[in-house]
């Protein structure tokens, strides 16, 4: 079964012309030497030709007219790249990268490199005191900023919806 399956797979590659030149030569040799391969090849080639010659389905006669009537009411939307500002994306990226670098620099500068107690970096890193920066009030401020940003986004979204609704009305 598997050999049969593999044979079909290789023959399909040969028929589609997707194999390498080496594969092609190998298949041609196999076709010359084995009647079983020739038989299967003929069978698959018939199917391939039948598939190529099958007709496309046709929609109704009003199809294109309906589309043209519909698009007459529309405007082409501006390309996405015109309203996505790459500088903003770059700015956000830079913010996160610098945050990461700042945390790493702070962490490494707080490590006690001279201590002989522990040798691994993870041991040293676990002794770094970050409570000075990541305390409850900092987390609260962070959460508040997020909530505010969320509210601004919701407000923007609802404003757009309202404008769209008015335009349609």
């Amino acid at each position: 079964m598997n050999t049969q399956h593999r044979m079909e797979e290789r023959l399909w590659e040969y028929i589609d012309g997707t194999g390498t030149a080496g594969d092609k030569q190998q298949i041609e040799d196999l076709l010359q030497q084995h009647a079983e391969w020739r038989e299967k090849y003929r069978e698959l080639l018939e199917i391939s030709q039948a598939l190529k010659s099958s007709e496309l389905e046709e929609p109704s006669l009003r199809f294109s007219k309906n589309i043209m009537e519909e698009i007459a009411k529309l405007h082409i939307a501006p390309a996405t790249k015109t309203y996505i500002n790459n500088r903003i994306i770059l700015g956000i990226g830079l913010f996160f990268v610098s945050l990461l670098v700042a945390i790493l620099v702070y962490g490494f500068s707080q490590m006690d490199w001279s201590s002989a107690e522990s040798n691994s970096i993870s041991d040293k890193l676990s002794k770094v005191d970050i409570s000075k920066f990541f305390n409850n009030s900092l987390i609260n401020v962070f959460m508040m900023v997020n909530v505010l940003l969320g509210l601004v986004l919701v407000d923007n979204y609802l404003n757009n919806k309202r404008k769209q609704f008015r335009k349609e009305a």
Binding site: E46, L51, M68, A79
Partner: protein
């Protein structure tokens, strides 16, 4: 009028405000798009509705077509996405080989074609019927490869797959199609040989 222009020239005209140039693109691709939607949606009326929706979406977002791929590949990506969201909305049960309804429709169509008595037509009808009996995923990949003349790279792009996955899926779809043709259309397959 627009028949001699290639896709990119037609698109440029549309983007410059010549809405009528879009009719050229619709005319060029309507059968391809409709065949694909029919393979996925499996109902003529709904497939036509979805295909119209595809062309309307493509028009609306035409400015986003960057021209680094073929227009047809970009269009078929919209077909795939639109069909998927349509099927999700309708919560259609995915038709499979054991779907009686599809069999019935396909049988009727097959009988109709056989009654034509035209041998070539019958062979084409047999192939079309066999494809329509495949699962939508298999039917689409076979249609994209054979009818819409998309390469494996382009198919992978349309369906959002790795090229190797697309290749495996195409092999699998063809194997199922072959099995189906041998079991359901043994007489026609003999004629074919």
């Amino acid at each position: 009028m627009s028949a001699g222009l290639n896709d990119n020239e037609l698109i440029s005209k549309v983007l410059r405000g010549d809405q009528q140039a879009y009719a050229g693109l619709v005319h060029r691709y309507q059968n391809y798009v409709f065949t694909l939607t029919l393979r996925l949606v499996k109902n003529r009326e709904e497939a036509e509705e979805v295909a119209q929706d595809v062309f309307i979406k493509a028009y609306k977002y035409l400015a986003d077509f960057r021209g680094d791929a073929k227009f047809s590949t970009w269009l078929y990506t919209i077909v795939n996405n639109t069909c998927i969201s349509f099927l999700r909305k309708k919560k259609l049960v995915v038709h499979s080989l054991d779907d009686e309804k599809v069999f019935k429709v396909a049988d009727n169509r097959d009988a109709g074609f056989r009654a034509d008595g035209v041998e070539q037509k019958s062979k084409q009808a047999m192939v079309n019927t066999a494809i329509s009996r495949l699962k939508p995923d298999d039917a689409v990949i076979v249609t994209l490869f054979y009818k819409n003349e998309q390469t494996l790279d382009e198919i992978a792009q349309v369906l959002g797959l790795e090229v190797n996955t697309a290749k495996v899926r195409l092999h699998r779809a063809r194997a199922r199609l072959k099995e189906l043709m041998e079991t359901q259309f043994s007489h026609e397959v003999k004629d074919l040989n």
